[in-house]
């Protein structure tokens, strides 16, 4: 990013650095003074030398900025580490990030302050203006710094234990940030926190740490997985025995699990399915119908793992049924066939009420009052104390869902790197060619549908118990659209992307209740904008990225270079 021309940069580079350092120093100092005179806006920002959570976030940005600026002052003295980090780019990202962050806070103070009758910006204390001034000065200085060459951090060899340690630290940091953000009850605090997260991601990218991390990730995939799951298991501990956030987080998991199933069908095999919610519904209804609810029509007392398997199997059978037209239909037509199947499923569930069909689902009443799970005396309906941590009802189901998701991800990862997975990708890229090469396309396509459906069915079974009631109106077409959007938004064919997409689509609406009414409007616009500017999703599968930008030579080179670097680092002895 260049804002000022290179000539100006080289002419004023040195004084600009001093200016930027002064600005950064002011920023570092600012959180030590009160920002707002009342505790009613954002979190409590009115104490001297005792910064609040949001102030600490600002302090972090400021410290990174100051550190980078001072280190890079030594310039050539850094010797071979000169270009390890993109010092100047980092400084620019950090100062602009800090400016954006403080601007968000000022805006929040202005808007919330006037809403709560505290006089808008009149509620601000000098500290806020000091922080703003510091950010402006630092940004003004940073834009005059010369653009740094690409960071070479990614190419620095590092011992395995450093990589593992770093990954663990990152996971812990993500957990901490997630818990911090989710626990913010006020919308404005949450939004400000989101701005920070975006700024932090940009700073990390600028430093080159991201590149290094992605290599470390590739080297230690299993460690990362394990660490991520460990962190996810810890998450309920951050909630202090409250269900308010756990229920949302559990819903995110349900949604993510289903989206991961869809990812097999759409992301790997390239079969567009627009009625996918039906599989979740099939699983949920199966579990509900078999449960001990007074409304259940086939109530049998089966152990839960068996119920999960049956639900998955029923959903998989639906998957086979819906997948069978793929023998003759593909592309957009398949999308419409699946959409029609989804609607047929919903209407059928409504009609199986005893008047228009046999009574299986109680029609639109659905099956309520599903009792909680009881696992060897562990009642999912009650709170439990484990190591002094309260595990609430929703947290119980959250943990159960985590286990299910772990299974889903394990299946997904293994399939992705197996003969079957490669067959799917071949079908996605070019069905004709795949068939010509001896790939059994029909069986593989059916397998994709059945497999994805099985996973969704399993998740559905847990959903039935968590929600205590299953009704047909939970499985409408719009939900299928959301699932598809989660996959597309996050990045087709990647686990991480789908998890991020699902989180964004489920968590943000819950947290941003104030524009409830505008949620769908924004969602629609987002889909269009996303398809226009980044069709490969937030986390792009490399192959996909190429596919979407086949005319972009620069990107192609970049991706290739990255792949080569990766390859070299992953197989040092292999060599070119």
């Amino acid at each position: 990013m260049t804002i000022v021309s290179p000539e100006l940069q080289s002419r004023y580079g040195k004084p600009a650095r001093i200016v930027a350092i002064v600005g950064a120093a002011i920023m570092v100092f600012a959180p030590m003074v009160p920002w707002v005179y009342t505790g009613k806006i954002l979190d409590d920002m009115r104490r001297a030398f005792d910064p609040s959570g949001l102030q600490i976030l600002f302090e972090l940005v400021a410290l990174v900025l100051l550190g980078v600026l001072v280190t890079s002052m030594f310039g050539v003295k850094l010797g071979k580490y000169k270009n390890v980090v993109a010092w100047n780019s980092t400084a620019l990202a950090a100062s602009l990030g800090g400016l954006g962050y403080i601007a968000a806070i000022v805006l929040a103070v202005a808007v919330v302050g006037s809403q709560k009758g505290l006089g808008g910006l009149a509620a601000a204390e000098p500290g806020l203006w000091i922080a703003l001034a510091g950010s402006v000065i630092a940004s003004a200085g940073s834009v005059f710094l010369r653009k740094s060459p690409r960071a070479t951090l990614a190419k620095v060899p590092s011992p395995a234990w450093v990589q593992i340690l770093a990954l663990v630290a990152v996971v812990a940091m993500v957990l901490f940030m997630a818990a911090f953000a989710v626990n913010l009850t006020e919308v404005e605090s949450f939004l400000v926190c989101c701005v920070f997260i975006v700024a932090a991601v940009f700073v990390f990218r600028a430093t080159g740490v991201m590149g290094w991390l992605s290599i470390a990730t590739a080297n230690n995939r299993k460690v990362l997985m394990l660490a991520a799951f460990a962190a996810a298991f810890i998450f309920p501990a951050t909630q202090d025995g409250s269900d308010a956030n756990m229920t949302v987080v559990a819903q995110v998991l349900i949604f993510a699990g289903t989206a991961l199933g869809l990812n097999i069908v759409v992301g790997l095999a390239g079969l567009l399915d627009m009625g996918y919610i039906a599989f979740l519904g099939a699983g949920a209804f199966t579990a509900a119908v078999l449960s001990r609810s007074a409304y259940a029509t086939f109530s049998i007392d089966l152990p839960f793992p068996v119920v999960v398997l049956i639900s998955g199997t029923v959903a998989a059978l639906f998957g086979l049924l819906i997948g069978s037209p793929t023998l003759r239909v593909s592309g957009d037509y398949l999308a419409i066939v699946t959409l029609a199947f989804g609607e047929i499923f919903r209407i059928t569930m409504v009609n199986l009420d005893g008047t228009d069909g046999p009574n299986i689902t109680h029609g639109s009443n659905g099956i309520p009052a599903i009792p909680n799970l009881d696992f060897f005396g562990f009642d999912f309906g009650k709170s439990h104390e484990i190591f002094g941590i309260t595990i609430t009802r929703q947290a119980n189901y959250y943990l159960l869902l985590l286990v299910v998701i772990a299974i889903v991800i394990a299946v997904f990862a293994n399939l992705n790197h197996s003969r079957i997975g490669r067959g799917w990708v071949a079908i996605r890229e070019d069905e004709m060619a795949a068939e010509a090469m001896g790939v059994n396309t029909f069986t593989l396509k059916l397998l994709a549908f059945a497999g994805g459906a099985f996973l969704a069915g399993m998740v559905g079974a847990v959903k039935a118990y968590k929600d205590t009631s299953v009704t047909p109106d939970q499985f409408v077409f719009l939900e299928s659209c959301f699932l598809l959007s989660a996959v597309v938004l996050g990045g087709m064919g990647t686990v991480m992307g789908v998890l991020i997409g699902a989180t964004i689509l489920k968590l943000l609406p819950e947290k941003l209740r104030f524009f409830d009414d505008y949620r769908m409007l924004i969602f629609g616009a987002l889909l269009v904008v996303m398809m226009r500017f980044r069709p490969e999703g937030i986390v792009a599968d490399e192959r996909r990225q190429m596919e979407f930008h086949d005319e972009d030579e620069e990107l192609a080179d970049e991706v290739e270079e990255e792949l080569v670097t990766h390859h070299d680092l992953l197989n040092p002895e292999g060599g070119k």
Partner: protein, 405 residues
């Protein structure tokens, strides 16, 4: 492999340390910094569809509760306590309603809940608030099983914290049937939208009607997503009914009436309280003339007790009409406030008063905006008064007031 284990343990340790250390500082600040002798705060939750198709009903519920709470605070109904309303949106979807319920359950200062509007949302909400001992008084859920359980032959109350004011489907449907029979109308057609509410009404109507000498000559359904009901109308017309009983809400009920008359089926439509809003006349136009609807309680404008509500609502400057459920919502809030008068008085904090409040509501008797209110052993309103309204011009005029067992 060792490395993995080490990493896992490390993460666990690091995360635990972080997890226990992190906490938001937002909460304690709300009471700090102001006067020492400030009233304690107890909150009444509202869960209703505040956005989407049914938002005009949902907002009516929210505003009515806010009105009741405002009046109670002004009159100092509960000394030492200030009541607040926490309105939460359920978008008429069970998933969202469930989140709202969990949110309420996790707030220590919530004492009771007015809601929900949709029976399908009430189903997952009931167990959550019951577990937290939060009393739930519903202004609008008509599904019978909410208070009487799965088996209507041997009714068992599923949740002792659940009360409701509006009549369940098994009263409104039969009441309409009773009215038609007294008028000598012996053949009727039924149409419903296959939703919980509509189907329940029609089932109850049909049972009573046929048991007492009436005959249902055609039983049809419509798809609420559809807009053209002419095929159904033609089919109904060929059965020559004297009246059409519709189970559902006005967005479908009103166009159905208009399309009936357009197609030459010039008989009245009679519906439940889902049709009881002036939006019905706006949508159906002239076709609405002579249509009927049932609603629970005596007409608001005939009751002295409703005056405070109607005047207060009119003076409040709210952006929607009270709707069919506004009166119940107002009464629901007042039922809760009445119970709180005894349970909150000496309570140290809200949480410890919850259980007593749930029990106290059972014995509350008030003269509400919708008439006399008391609860039977299932938590249903004992007020058996219902009214049939007739559409005249663009208003509903009361036609027949009676009781039903």
């Amino acid at each position: 492999m060792k490395a993995y284990k080490a990493a896992a343990i490390l993460t666990l340790a690091a995360s635990l340390a972080l997890a226990t250390g992190c906490g938001s500082r937002t909460e304690p600040t709300t009471t700090e910094g102001s006067g020492e002798t400030e009233d304690k705060v107890a909150k009444i939750g509202v869960i209703a569809p505040l956005t989407g198709d049914l938002s005009s009903f949902g907002k009516g519920i929210q505003y009515s509760v806010q009105l009741a709470v405002k009046q109670a605070n002004e009159s100092g109904a509960i000394p030492g306590w200030t009541l607040e309303v926490v309105p939460l949106d359920d978008q008429a979807t069970p998933d969202v309603g469930q989140n709202a319920a969990n949110q309420l359950a996790s707030m220590d200062d919530v004492i009771a809940l007015v809601g929900t509007m949709n029976s399908s949302v009430a189903q997952p909400v009931q167990p959550i608030v019951d577990a937290a001992n939060i009393a739930m008084v519903s202004p609008a859920n008509t599904n019978t099983s909410l208070t009487k359980g799965a088996d209507l032959e041997n009714p068992v109350r599923p949740y002792k914290s659940f009360y409701r004011l509006c009549a369940s489907d098994d009263k409104q449907g039969p009441f309409a049937a009773k009215y038609l029979l007294t008028k000598g109308i012996k053949t009727a057609a039924t149409v419903h939208d296959k939703k919980v509410y509509g189907q329940g009404l029609v089932d109850a109507f049909t049972e009573y009607y046929e048991a007492n000498g009436g005959k249902v000559v055609a039983a049809e359904t419509i798809n609420p997503e559809d807009t053209d009901y002419s095929t159904v109308v033609t089919k109904v017309k060929s059965a020559n009914p004297e009246i059409v009983y519709y189970g559902g809400e006005y967005p479908q009920g009103a166009p159905l009436s208009a399309q009936m008359k357009d197609a030459g089926l010039k008989v009245a439509e009679i519906g439940g309280d889902g049709n009881y809003t002036t939006e019905y006349q706006k949508l159906a136009g002239e076709a609405a003339e002579g249509d009927l609807t049932t609603s629970v309680g005596a007409p608001l404008d005939t009751l002295d007790s409703a005056k405070a509500y109607l005047d207060g609502y009119a003076a409040g400057g709210y952006d929607v009409d009270p709707g069919a459920y506004g009166g119940y919502a107002y009464d629901a809030a007042n039922v809760i406030i009445e119970a709180l008068k005894t349970t909150l008085k000496d309570a140290a904090d809200v949480k410890s008063a919850r259980e007593a409040t749930v029990a106290a509501i059972q014995n509350v008797k008030i003269e509400g905006a919708t008439g006399e209110i008391a609860f039977d052993e299932f938590g249903d309103n004992t007020n058996r008064v219902l009214t049939v309204y007739k559409s005249e011009g663009d208003a509903w005029v009361s036609e027949y007031i009676n009781t039903i067992e």
